[in-house]
Each structure stands twice: as C-alpha cells, then as structure tokens.
Amino acid sequence: MSEIAHNHIKLPEGSIEKQTTTLNLGPTHPATHGVMQNILELDGERIVSAEQTIGYIHRAFEKLAERRPLYQITTITDRMNYCSSPINNMGWHITCEKLLKVKTPKRVDYLRIIIMELARISDHLICNSIVGVDSGAYTGFLYVMQYRELIYEIYEEICGSRLTTNIGRIGGFERNFTNAAFTKLEKFMDEYPKVLTEFESLFKRNRIFMERTQGTGAISAERALNYGFTGPNLRAAGVDYDVRIHTPYSSYEDFDFTVPVGSTGDNYDRFLVRNEEMRQSLRILEQAYRKVQAFTGAEAEVYHADVPEYYLPEKKDVYTKMEALIWHFKIIMGETAIPVGEVYQSVEGGNGELGFYLISDGGRTPYRLHFRRPCFIYYQAYSELTKGAMLSDAIMTMSSLNLIAGELDS
C-alpha cells in the first residue's frame, strides 16, 4: 500500500523530514478579507516565516490611465480603496486641479471635506469592526453596518452610487447637494457619536479583545517609518504624520482637529487610533457643515469652479447654447489643452498617504500616472510583524492593518 502511494504521490524533496508545516492562507479565505495569499511556515501554531503573494486582482490601472483623458481616470481611482472611494476621487480631482491650476471655491472645498470625512469614517468603522469579527465579536460589526449604510445613502443623494462613487468632477461637484443629503448628514452627525461610544465600549476594556490585540502585530516608530507606513498605522506607532496637517489640501487648514497617536504600534493601538480619528472626523464634519450653512446669497449655490474648459456644462445649456456645446464636445473628446508638467499630490486616505504622481506631456492623456498606494507599501511589513506570532494573531494583524485588495493590486 505504502509503495503504491509512494509511486503515485510525488512529494517535494525533504518534505517528510521537514519539521515545519506549510500553510496557504488565502488567496480565497474568509479571514483574508480580500484576494491575497500568505504562504506561512508554521512550527506548531507559531509562524516561522510568512511570504505574501499579491497581484490576484491586478487590473493594470497605471497602464489604463495612459489612454484615458483626465476625467475618465476618476472611475479607476474608485476601484482602488473601495472602502473609501470618495477620498480617492477627491484626491484625483485635486491632483488634476493642481496641474491645471484650477482654484476651487471655498464652498466646494468644504463640501469635499464633508464627503472625505464621511468616507474616512466608513473606512475606519469597517476596519475596526472587522478586527472585532476576527476576535470573535460579531455584534459590533452588524451594529455599525447600519451607519455605513447611512453614509452610503448620503453618497447616493450626492452622486447616485454607493461603492464605486465616481463622485465630483474636476473643479467641483456634478450637482449641488440636495436637501435630503443634508438631512441625512444631520441625522448621521446626531446619532453616530453615541453609536461610536457604544461600539468602542464593546471592545476597549473587553478582556478578550485586549488580550488578543495588545502586543500583537506591533511595530516600532523607526521600523514603521522605514517601511513607509502612513496613516493610522504610522500614528499608532507614535508618529504624528497626517497629510491633512502637513500639506493641507481642500482648505483643511481652516479646521480645528487633533491627530491622535498611539505608542506601541500594535493592533490595540491601531484600533484606538482609528476610533479616535472617527471622533475627530465628526468634529470636522460639524465644522464643515456649519461653514457650508453659513454661505448666503449666490455663494450658497456654488458647487463648482468657473472653469468651462474642464468642467462639463449643464445638459440643458448643451442643447441650447453653442458655446456650451463646444465645451461639452471638447471635454468629452479630451481635446482641451492640458499643460506640460509633473505634479505630486497626496491626500490622507483611509489607510494612509494616497499619492498621485502625474506626468503630462501636453497630450490628451497622462504620459505617466503613478499611484502611491498606502497598503501596497505597508503590507510588505507583514512578514516582519507576524514573525514568531501565533497563527490567530496573524489573522488579527492582517485585518488591523486595513488591507484593501483593490488598492494593493491596483
């Protein structure tokens, strides 16, 4: 019997003598929360080494972008970090506006901040509640999900879609915010703080949660910087780097908020930092909403910059006015002149510094567009973070890093 098996099953050299077990975690495993593979070498339940394989959903975004006019690239950015796609969209518009030297009105900036902070909350609440799910606490996840739903309804009121939003245009928004959007926003700002406190109290002093997360997946500030960490993951390690403060965009300098930092850089601190960031986002939301409401007269109706060469005219004007028709045609065909130049613009994405490096040679499409995708950059630290850890901690670490497969693979 054993001889037959020996003839038919060809085991790799040395696999019987080997003292460790190889385990494929992923590519499709519920605990990976996305299509990514980890080849783990296990000694019992301890991880000896981990090797990440990525690229399962690579869609060649940088190549695709080289054939698209600027306004068509927004839909590509949606599909990177799909938990907070409005931030990606805004980041892209801001990059284009920097290249094209378009100045946006204050009201547009504040409306953008409302959208970006809502997106940040929806990103963080998913990440934190998934950390909870991976430690065995499903309740929080289901509870906060209804508030993500409310955020998605606000997106729907503004742009008509929920996940891949394609929200906003170069120069502003495609239409003004409706009253229903503001009503829903008020509801959110009214109800969510209490929910957040409740959600936090489910975990913060929960013995099981604390023991599962404290000390696991920890990284020092030096290593985090060396690995190019940004966003909540870096701040949990104690470095107060936030793009919103360091290089303000979209009038973030008008807002008063603090940047929470952790000290240990472990899963527990990442959880706390994200929770506190949601609170700060709520503060920004309230200030932004007040500022938007304070506009009067004609200013209160402004929702885009006056840049006819890049911003599509209203449909009714296209049918009735010659000039609008010409601009419409030129924009759609990508015939408007784009200056030669190179820009780097970054925004504080849900999981770190999301950067756009755009080189334009004056043609209708970018000559080169490179995305700085934060989770691609910090995921390489995963093998260092999990070395010597238990298998179950590795799962927690993966969700606590907030990996989004779409962004990872671009």
Partner: protein, 168 residues
C-alpha cells in the same frame, strides 16, 4: 531655520558639485537629476545629513521615454523630510539595454516592493536587491508591460467574436 529649496540645492551642489543637474521646481517641488551610479550615494547623503534629513521614501517609480536614446528609463524617487516637512524628487536616467541601478533596500525596507514593482513593469534591474522577482504580474511573463512599446488594445477593433464575451 526653515529648510528651503535653495538651501537644499546649495547643500547638494556643495557635496556633489556638477554631478547633479537640471534643478527645477515644478509646482513647488525641488526636482533634479543624478547620474545612475550615484543614486545610492545621494540617497545615503540625503538620509544622513543632519540638515537635510530626508528619511522617508514616499514613492519610487519608473517612466519610459522611448524617444531619448541612451536615457530611455527614468527612475523617480520622491523623498520627504518629515521634521521640516519638505518634499523633493530626483530622477536617475538609464539606457534600456543595461537598466542596472543600485538598490535602496539596505537604506529603506519599503524600497523592497517598490523596486519589485518597478522591475515587474519596466524591467529595471536593481543590483543587490534581495528578492527581485515579479510582484503583481505572473512569474511566466516575459516582457515588461508598462513600457511604451506595448500599447493598450485598440478599443474599436472589430475582429473579436462577440459571442465569446457574452455580447453576441
């Protein structure tokens, strides 16, 4: 003291002399070129210098210029001094037949995957990289897809059998 682009430029010129060229500041970011053998020395100097302190590698990518013989590939580094909050960008040009560049992995752990990605899409050979293999594309791929000689499929082609794509 505020670290301005002029200060950085002077300091770099004092150290490297005429090796660094084409200083400009498109959209406010100091940009310059370095010879390909000097990329690592430059990165090390920028990292160690007590005044400059460019110790954060924001991103690294390549650009293909097929019309520049001998300088077809540009490797672009974006660095950030987090204390003084200044960003700079420098480029290293190489010809496409011997695209050998020193790796920055000993200085920055983050360069590991960035360089693998650059190798994967442009075929830049990072000398000394511990694990230079493809990262997003399949291992069997035998070309570098982001180079300009590989155009995207013509969106208007009609020789495809639509039935195969559920559109017939």
């Amino acid at each position: 003291m505020v670290l301005t682009n002029e200060t950085i430029e002077q300091r770099l010129k004092a150290k490297f002399g005429d090796l660094l060229t084409n200083f400009e500041t498109p959209y406010g970011m100091l940009t310059f070129e370095a010879p390909k053998d000097y990329n690592l020395k430059l990165l090390q100097f920028l990292y160690d210098d007590t005044e400059l302190r460019f110790q954060f590698l924001t991103t690294l990518c390549a650009v293909h210029y097929p019309d520049q013989p001998g300088r077809e590939l540009a490797i672009v580094y974006h660095l950030h001094n987090l204390q003084d909050n200044v960003r700079i960008r420098f480029k290293v040009f190489t010809d496409i037949n011997t695209p050998d560049i020193f790796t920055a992995t000993n200085l920055y752990s983050t360069a590991n995957w960035m360089e693998r990605e650059t190798y994967d899409f442009y075929g830049v050979n990072f000398v000394g990289h511990p694990n230079l293999k493809r990262i997003l594309n399949v291992d069997e791929m035998d070309y570098f897809p982001m180079r300009k000689e590989f155009p995207l499929e013509d969106g208007t082609r009609i020789d495809k059998d639509d039935a195969m794509f559920g559109r017939g």
